[in-house]
Structures are given as C-alpha cells and as structure tokens.
C-alpha cells in the first residue's frame, strides 16, 4: 500500500517534470524553484525563529505568538498588493488603499489580542476576589 502510494507520487512528479522539460523553460523554473527553498531556509525561517526566541522571553507567550503569527501572515499576503510595481491602468485592479487596510488589519489583530489579554486578567482577578470573599 505504502509502496503503491510512493510509486504514484513518483509517477505524478514525473508528469510534472516532463511538462517542465518539454515546456522549454526548465532552466529558469529550476532556478526559481531553488530560489524558493533558499528564500525560505536562509531568510524567512531564521527570521521567524529569532522572533520566536524574543517572544519566549515575554509573559502570555502563547497569545502573543498567535498575534505574531496572525500579523505576520497578514503581512505576507499583503506584500504583493502593497509592493506591486507601477500604477495599474485598469481601475478595477488594486482599487483599495492597501497601506491603510494593511495597518487596519494589524490594528484588528492588536485589538483582539488586547481584548483577550484583558479578559484573562479580569477573570483571574475575579477568581481571586471570589476566593477572598469566600474566606471572609
């Protein structure tokens, strides 16, 4: 079963490779494929790990990590609309104020994070006061 699955995988990869080779653009594509690995392994991953190390020093690490992951991913998907070169001559392509919207989305992440933090803090205080009240 595993062997069959593995063989199917290799067969599918062969289809892709042969499409690339017969497409006549193999060298350029291979370069960009290798570039994708280099981009991730040498730039994105180390950057994320360093931020992760810094986050580990803070309290409420899990929540802040979630906020960082959310803000980071929003930024990644916003990069093309933020950085696309030239002004589109088609008014229905990239019609929005993307820098503003990007900041708005980050502000929303910050607001949700703040709300959860406040909620946690309140519930801890509430529990403490209840315990204190019970003792009295």
């Amino acid at each position: 079963m595993r062997l069959l699955l593995g063989a199917a995988g290799i067969a599918l990869m062969t289809v892709g490779l042969s499409l690339l080779v017969t497409g006549g653009q193999f060298r350029d594509v291979a370069l960009w494929l290798a570039g994708a690995v280099v981009l991730h392994d040498l730039l994105i991953a180390p950057l994320v790990l360093v931020i992760g190390l810094l986050l580990a020093l803070l309290p409420a690490r899990g929540l802040l990590r979630g906020a960082f992951v959310g803000a980071g991913c929003l930024t990644v998907i916003a990069l093309p609309v933020l950085l696309a070169p030239g002004t589109p001559r088609n008014p229905s392509v990239l019609p929005l104020d993307y820098p503003r919207n990007w900041l708005l989305s980050l502000a929303a992440v910050a607001a949700v994070t703040g709300a959860v933090l406040t909620g946690r803090w309140l519930s801890v205080r509430w529990a403490r006061r209840n315990r204190a009240g019970g003792r009295r």
């Binding site: 595993r2 062997l3 699955l5 593995g6 199917a8 995988g9 290799i10 067969a11 599918l12 990869m13 289809v15 892709g16 499409l19 690339l20 497409g23 653009q25 350029d28 594509v29 960009w32 494929l33 290798a34 994708a36 690995v37 981009l39 991730h40 991953a45 994320v48 790990l49 992760g52 190390l53 899990g62 990590r65 979630g66 960082f68 992951v69 959310g70 980071g72 991913c73 929003l74 998907i77 916003a78 093309p80 609309v81 696309a84 070169p85 589109p88 001559r89 088609n90 008014p91 229905s92 392509v93 990239l94 019609p95 929005l96 993307y98 919207n101 990007w102 708005l104 989305s105 992440v109």
Partner: protein, 388 residues
C-alpha cells in the same frame, strides 16, 4: 604542528549544525498542521485541474464540457485562490515545525536517506513556488522570465507527486501521531500539550484572518471585510470589475462606430446593433468568474446564442467560434462547445444590470455563458461562426 598552534589564537572554529532548544518541532505538530496543508493543496490541485481544462480543453473534451451548474467555475476558482491563500499560514507553520530536520547530522546516511531528503527539497521548493507565483498572479505581477500558466500547471503535478510520496514515506509517523491519544503523541512530553494547542489555535486564527481579509473578492456577502484582496466586487465600471479594459485591448469608440455582427453557417447573415436589439431579448443572472479568483454575479440582457445559431441554419448543439474586435491577445478568438451554445442561459449580451454595456464591458455585444472562466466571456464580439 608548531605553526598550527600559533595560528589558533581564539577557540577553534568548527562548523556544527545548530541545535534547537525550542519545543514543538515534533511529529504531532507536523501531523496536525500537515493534514490541513495537505487538504488545502489537494483542493488547489483539483480546482486548478478543472480550471485548466475549462480554459484549454483538449479536442475530445471541448464538446462535452457541461454548462451547469451555472455557478460551477465561480465556486471552483474561488476555492482555488482561497485555499491557496489559506495554505500560506499552514505552510509557514509546517516548515517552522520541521525546520530543525534541515540540519540532521550526518546530513546523508544512505542512498535512501539522500533520496528522501531530495524529495522533501522538491516538496518545499514546489509548495513555496506554487503559493508565491499564484499569489503574485492574482495581482498581475510577473517578475519571472517564464510564462505563468504552463509552469504553474507543471509544478502543480510536481507538488502533488512530492506530497503523495512524502505521505507514503512518513505514513507510520503520521498514523502514530494522528490524534492526541495516538501512541506516538503519548510518547511526547505531556507538558507540551497545552502549548501545542495554543500554537495550533494561533495558526488557525491566522488562516481565518488571511481568509476573511481576501475572500470577499469572490464571496460577495463578505465584501466589507475585503481589505487585502487585489479586487473588490464594488470597484469597476458599472459596478463590476473588469480584467481587460478596452484601452488594454485597443478597442476605442471609433472601432465600434459602424459595428455589424456577422454570423456564419449554412445561412450566413449580418445584423446591425438595432436589428440585434430587435430580436427577442432574454435576461439572465450569471457571474463573471475570473481565473485570478474574483467573481461577481450580474444581470445580463441579450439574444440567446441558441437563437443566433438557429437563425444561421445550424442544428442544436453546434459548436461556435467567436471573434473579438480586439487587435491582439491570447483570447481574441474563442471557441465554445455544444454544451454551452445549447444552454438557454448563454447570451450575446447587450446590457448589464439594465444599462447598455460600457466599452470596458464589451460594448456593443459580448458573450456571457454559465460555468465558464471569465477570459472566455469574450467582449467586443463582431463575428460568430457555427463550427459544423
């Protein structure tokens, strides 16, 4: 010997693989994220395949393509782009989880190990490549020297194959870490459990965030949250986005001033715009669904393609070729199989939401058909040939 000792002033420098003190770089995290990523890639592949063959059907398929459901392409291509965007947080989380394995020591243990690592390298390369090129394509940004469509299609097969192979190789690990109670999971430090759940919750929230801020470009009820998508359903001439403007297609008012529609077949004929508008008009609600992922429904009014072909003496279900006034472009000549021409929803439209078509939407007349990619909803149609 003496020489070497003198040279070594500081501590000896040796290259050693980094060690990772952080937690959660484990098989349970990889499995929990990986299965969602695998599902997203499978959705992208299937919907991509559908899109590819709807756009460029081989001859044997062209006549058999179904025109229903009318919203079919809107769903599959909306899903294609949404699943691709949702896969970005998942891919980043997955690669973060397994990143330490890049530095396993010794780097190569055996031929088998080498092949396994090579297949993982292909998997990483192809997945980053597909999501990156796909995302850039949605903003019509092409920084690479190759043409997007055939390469995105070819690398899709490479990615799916590498993924299937990866699942086969990792099968025992996947099954032993499938759930919280699986034997492999139970062997991991129990105190990592809550931290892992918090990480997964963060990744899930990121998937939700990137989806919510972009999916409104096709899922129009969520348009208010469309902050970061390259299109917005409300931005475009006559309230409908346009992929190729009249200016880009080099069609100006002068080109359409003395427009005539020629229909060829056993009884060829030519109509002026007034004569065309005097034929029985029908109004249908159909979406424009673009390969780049945006879509919006609109009300179209015009003449049934069925009626135009029948008037030319062509039997029901005849395929057609439509020619646009645009000077050049890959989509100037469009072919449509009998499944579409026979559908009463397929129109040569003259009006959009009750108004005469604007030049950007294909004035004087454009094709609108159900379950078809937007690029084949040919605008500025001047000639229709029955293909007998």
């Amino acid at each position: 010997m003496e020489d070497m000792r003198i040279r070594r002033i500081g501590p000896p420098i040796t290259v050693r693989p980094p060690r990772f003190a952080g937690r959660l770089h484990d098989a349970r995290t990889a499995t929990a994220v990986g299965r969602w990523l695998g599902a997203a890639i499978a959705v992208c592949f299937m919907t991509g395949l559908i899109s590819h063959y709807l756009q460029r059907p081989p001859d044997w398929l062209a006549g058999a393509l179904p025109s229903r459901p009318a919203w079919g392409y809107r769903i599959t291509q909306g899903l294609h782009v949404a699943a691709g965007i949702a896969a970005i947080p998942l891919l980043m989380a997955k690669l973060w989880t397994v990143y330490p394995r890049l530095f396993v020591w010794p780097a190569l243990r055996s031929v088998r190990h080498g092949l396994e690592r090579l297949s993982v390298a292909v998997l990483v390369a192809a997945s980053v490549f597909q999501l990156g090129t796909g995302l850039l394509n949605t903003v019509q940004w092409y920084p690479w020297p190759f043409s997007f469509v055939p390469v995105h299609f070819a690398v899709a097969w490479l990615l799916l194959g590498a993924l299937v192979l990866h699942i086969a190789v990792k099968y025992p690990k996947i099954t032993s870490h499938w759930s919280r109670r699986s034997p492999g999971t139970l062997e991991l430090p129990a105190e990592d459990g809550p931290d892992r759940r918090s990480l997964l919750a963060g990744v899930a929230a990121a998937v939700g965030a990137v989806t919510l801020t972009t999916v409104g470009q096709s899922l129009t009820p969520l348009r208010r949250f469309d902050l970061l998508a390259p299109r917005h359903p409300d931005h475009g001439p006559q309230g409908l986005p346009v992929n190729r403007t009249a200016a880009a297609a080099r069609v100006g008012p002068a080109n359409v001033a003395d427009w005539r529609l020629t229909v060829t077949g056993p009884r060829s004929y030519t109509l002026t715009l007034d004569q065309l508008a005097a034929l029985p008009q029908h109004t249908v609600t159909l979406p424009i669904a673009c390969v780049e992922g945006w879509s919006k429904s609109a009300r179209w009014t015009g003449v049934r393609v069925q009626d135009l072909l029948e008037r030319a003496g062509a039997p029901p279900g005849t395929a057609l070729r439509a020619v646009s006034l645009e000077r050049r472009g890959a989509y100037r000549v469009m072919e449509m199989g009998g499944g579409y021409t026979d559908d009463p929803l397929t129109l040569l439209a003259l009006r959009l939401n009750g108004e005469v078509l604007s030049l950007d939407h294909g004035y004087p007349a454009r094709i609108i058909a159900p379950n078809r990619p937007g690029v084949w909803q040919t605008k500025w149609v001047s000639r229709i040939e029955a293909v007998l």
